[in-house]
Structures are given as C-alpha cells and as structure tokens.
C-alpha cells in the first residue's frame, strides 16, 4: 500500500505549482487554470485524508468541490469572454484601469 504521505506531498507540490503558475502566466484563462490546479490539489488532499481516516466524508466533500469548480468555470469564463469582447485582450496586465 502506498503511504498516505506520498499523496499528501504530491498534493502540496500540485498546490504550489498552481500558485507559481498563477504568477508566471500572463493570460487570464491560464491564470484561472492555475487556480483549478490549486483546487485539485485540495481535492487530492481531501481524498488522501479520507482514506487515512477511513471515512467517506472527504470524498463527498470533493464531490462538492468539483461542483463548485464547475460553477466557477462557468462564471469565470463568461467574465473573460466579456473582457475579451470589450478590450480584445485577455492579458492580465491590461486590467489596469483602476489603481491607487
């Protein structure tokens, strides 16, 4: 049996990669994708814990998180589309009308 810590460390790595990707990428869509990676890292952690605790609750929660991710994707992509229609760009640094 694979030790639970492997899964946990994998989830931490995925989470951090998501964070790094958020800062490295420059378009809104991929930044959003990075957030999806972070969410998935959370899912992995949940399932790893669920197995370690021998409880199904973690899996149910992951089910909900996937639903949330789907809902976020719908609204997020709509917003990105709206931005693209207005500005013809989805570069993150072009979102700078307001500051100070």
């Amino acid at each position: 049996m694979i030790p639970g810590s492997y899964f946990f460390i994998l989830s931490v790595i995925l989470f951090i990669l998501g964070v790094i990707a958020f800062f490295v990428k420059r378009d809104l869509i991929t930044q959003f994708l990075s957030i999806e990676v972070m969410l998935n890292a959370g899912n992995l952690a949940f399932i790893a814990f669920a197995r370690a605790l021998n409880s199904l609750h973690g899996q149910v929660i992951v089910f909900f998180i996937i639903t949330v991710a789907a809902a976020e994707a719908a609204v997020g992509l709509a917003i990105i589309l709206l931005i693209f229609r207005q500005k013809k760009t989805i570069k993150s640094e072009d979102m700078n009308l307001m500051k100070g």
């Binding site: 994998l10 197995r51 021998n54 609204v75 709509a78």
Partner: protein, 165 residues
C-alpha cells in the same frame, strides 16, 4: 505495482502542470491540464475512491476543461501569450512558493504517521457514497443546485447579446 502506477501518474500530473507553466499556447495549456486532471483521476482511483475518480475524469477532465477549450477557441488569439517577462515577479513568487511548500510540509509532518495508518483499505463503493450524499449531505447537495443556477444565470447575463445590439 501500485507504487509504480502512483509514480507514473504523479509524474504525468506534475509534468503536465510544469508543461503548462512553460507553454505559450493556451490550447496546449488546457490540453495539458486535461492530461493532468485525468492522471489525478487515476490517483484518486489508487486512493480507493473509484466514484470520485470517474467524476474527476468525466466532469473535470471532460466537461470543465472542454468548456475552457471552447472559450479558448472563441477567443482565438493569433499569437500566444508568453510567460511573465518581469523576472522579479517569477523569482519572488518562486521564493514565496518555496516558503509555502516548506510551511505546509512542516505543518503536516506530525501527521504523516497518521496518514499511513491502517484501515485505509476499504473500497468506498459508489453505493455507500450515494447513500451518504442523499442522507447526511442532502442539504448541501440541494445547495449545489442553487450554486449551479446562480452560476448559469451569472454566466448568461454576462455574455448574452442584448436585444438592441
């Protein structure tokens, strides 16, 4: 065998995400993530969560990522957007991410023992999961319906063409 499968899937998963970080084409980004999430689904399977594994592959890798790809197609940028040029942002975020990883692992180091503890072998049947979902988690399950409606309404409101346009 299980170990081998785990490392294979883990490498595929991490590799795909790293590939996304370095790629400059958004369609590739999304496809790489499909790969990563599919691999993650496999890992879920290894963790005795077959139902979630299937959900992960069908909903996440299938539906959600396809949505992304659709939008990327619609936007269809001529040239890709390369990664961040400002070096200091990358370095700073890398340093911060490194600190974060250390912090998270430090936080969990005491629990590694518990994570590998016995009793994790029981296969969670979809039946048991479904039962839990419709009894103890009935209320949150219903809430997800509100969530999805709200998301749909929000998405439609933002992108629909107005009548006068």
């Amino acid at each position: 065998m299980a170990h081998f499968l785990f490392f294979l899937l883990a490498i595929v998963c991490v590799g795909a995400v790293v590939g996304m970080i370095f790629s400059r084409n958004q369609a590739y980004n999304a496809l790489l993530l499909v790969l990563a999430f599919a691999a993650l689904g496999g890992i879920f399977g290894l963790l005795s969560a077959p139902f979630i594994a299937v959900v992960q592959i069908i909903i996440y890798a299938g539906a959600i990522m396809v949505l992304f790809i659709f939008v990327i197609m619609m936007i269809n940028l001529r040239e890709g957007i390369p990664p961040e040029k400002k070096k200091w942002t990358i370095y700073l975020s890398a340093v911060l991410a490194f600190i974060l990883i250390v912090e998270l692992i430090l936080a969990a180091r005491g629990s590694f023992q518990a994570l590998t503890g016995p009793g994790g072998e029981e296969i969670a049947s979809p039946k048991a999961l479904g039962k839990l979902l419709f009894t103890e988690y009935l209320y949150p399950f219903e809430i997800t319906s509100i969530l999805i409606i709200a998301a749909l309404v929000g998405a439609i409101i933002l992108v629909k063409k107005k009548e006068e346009e």
